[in-house]
Symmetry: C2
Subunit: 369 residues, 2 copies
């Protein structure tokens, strides 16, 4: 049943759903949080054979709200609304899409800002270190809960794309195919360097208090500035030059890029939690499939399904050459892998911007028999 359609080629989605784990969730490094809630959203309809499910993995600042609006009055649709919808690249007339809010993130899943029922206080600094494997395992709990034994595809970009690759490593038999955009098997050094600096900025904020800042709720300036650093890693030099250059704001001496940073930083810190930022980003930096498994070939040893890798020529967080490493390992393993190198001025964020670019390879890939 197609849900009510809305102007702007979008639609009404069901509300956020929650899977309660009364026995808790055990994190990879050994800590358990119990009870633990996993938030997720679904889009489209699961067929009777439960064979049309596509798991979408979200990136750092996103949520399980992939597409559509909860309410016609919502200002914005979901974060991948340009790709996921009725008649879109991931066509909800055919596919059932599922997205899970990852552990560590603050959009419905038990997070550092959740209240620990044992103490009556928010977890804060007591919330465990999070890994990409934790994200995969939480996603699998929901997949199992929905009775899905094999996913038609697992898809995502950036941190979402890293989760996609980790799915192929951890649950190769459940992944019918994979679509990973703007993601490699490890963040290269220029990315971890900027991430580390971002976390230091947050930790240097006296109001952060090691992560136990919830008693005096106010927006952390450290998070605002860390977001500016993150933002820079998503923008290409070309996009910076085209969008801002050295232009000043109106008749003032303030650079437009400064004004843009302040706006974006405030907006982000108003909705995102600093502890979540620190944990989710650190998880991203720690993933290194070649290091963890000895080699990329060894990491993907059990994976047999088709793979679509998409890289962007102006993405310097995950350069094309890093995606090629994944491609090469998959080829060595005899995997049916397609690597599409797309050209866009929009850098790492291309997967969230240029839908006319990313839609054709995705629909072609999904249409294969």
């Amino acid at each position: 049943m197609v849900p009510p359609q809305l102007p702007g080629n979008t639609f009404i989605t069901p509300p956020l759903q929650q899977l309660l784990l009364p026995d808790g969730f055990r994190f990879q490094h050994g800590q358990t949080i119990a009870p633990f809630t996993i938030a997720y959203e679904t889009f489209g309809e699961l067929n009777e054979e439960r064979s049309n499910a596509i798991l979408v993995c979200h990136a750092l600042s996103a949520s399980a709200h992939v597409a559509g609006k909860y309410d016609a009055g919502d200002e914005k649709a979901g974060w991948w609304d340009g790709l996921v919808g009725y008649g879109k690249g991931i066509d909800l007339a055919k596919y059932f899409v599922l997205c899970v809010n990852i552990p560590g993130s603050c959009f419905g899943t038990t997070s550092p800002s959740s209240v620990n029922p044992g103490t009556g206080r928010r977890y804060g600094s007591q919330y465990p270190v999070v890994t990409i494997e934790d994200m995969i395992h939480a996603e699998k709990r929901v997949v199992d809960h929905l009775g899905i034994e094999r996913l038609l595809a697992v898809a995502g970009g950036s941190l979402g794309g890293m989760q996609v690759l980790m799915w192929a490593v951890c649950y190769p038999g459940m992944v019918g195919s994979l679509i990973a955009m703007a993601a490699g098997a490890a963040v290269p050094v220029q990315g971890i360097a900027w991430h580390i600096i971002g976390r230091k900025i947050i930790e240097a904020d006296a109001a952060f208090k090691g992560g136990d800042y919830y008693d005096e709720p106010h927006q952390l300036r450290g998070l605002e500035v860390a977001r500016m650093v993150g933002h820079m890693t998503y923008l290409s030099t070309r996009a910076l030059q085209m969008k801002f250059g050295r232009r000043r704001r109106g008749t003032t001496r303030q650079f437009e890029i400064d004004s843009y940073f302040e706006y974006q930083g405030r907006k982000f810190a108003g909705t995102y939690d600093a502890n979540s930022y620190v944990r989710v980003q650190a998880a991203m930096d720690e993933m290194d499939l070649a290091e963890q498994y000895g080699s990329l070939e060894a990491a993907f040893a059990e994976f047999r399904s088709p793979a679509l890798l998409i890289s962007f020529d102006t993405d310097w967080l995950f350069p094309v050459s890093d995606v090629e490493k994944v491609e090469d390992a998959m080829k060595t393993n005899g995997i049916d892998v397609t690597h599409r190198r797309l050209s866009s001025p929009n850098g790492h964020d291309t997967f969230l911007i240029d839908y006319e670019l990313i839609t054709p390879p995705v629909t072609e890939f999904l249409a294969r028999p």
Copy 2:
């Protein structure tokens, strides 16, 4: 007279000298600090005709101590010791070298950390905004004081190179030739973006107190982290990959780049003043010769002497294409300009590292009749 030579192909230099301006120094934006002291150093001997003087302009974190050691026991020689010395690229057997600690900087010239004799307190937030023109004017005061009417050359890299270009604009008749490395006529947007973020990090440090932090003297964490951002802009992706990659420190999980950042950040914040960092870097960002004069051709309209521009292929703070803009304008104006594009993995900092690369073009240029 050649001064005492030291192991490591360096030499003993005279101590820092100071020019006292009892009537003060008037900054470009109108404020005057009186009295005002300008610190400088000289190397080699000024000939009788006063025609062998080369003004070296220093970069953000450097001082007037270009070359040599004050004392045989000094750990390090001056910041351009690889290029300036007896028998080196700028040969002190032939040339008299002069360097002035720029207004805003904290190495001898009256700075934000100097005590205001009128109040008995350090200037701090009351110290004026600084411009590149202020730096040039302070340098000219020392040049005048030494009775030098025309400089054989003005040379520098990065912010020093920007000063060199500003000399050609402000005092074209005094500049016998110019050597500008890793510098353009304006910092491009990716540079100002990182600079702005660095300054926000400092300003977000609660201990910074708007610049009036001297009553509780301790190292500012904000300056340490801002320095890490600055450091990133000096490093090329290639250098990051070769020097650090994703390697961990010893048996720990700490990334080597993290450990390096912490070491460098602490070292820098132990010797440099946060107010100086904010002012000197902002001066760099504000310079934009095309904006200030209508065009680069107009900016260099009065300049007639030979120019040597040196750019580095992995420098992304001042990309080769930005140096080409200066080259093109000079060519249009009929200036005898040489642009040497050098290849090095060391990014922006190549001018402080690869002396075997930069020495030949400098000696060739200076040897021209």
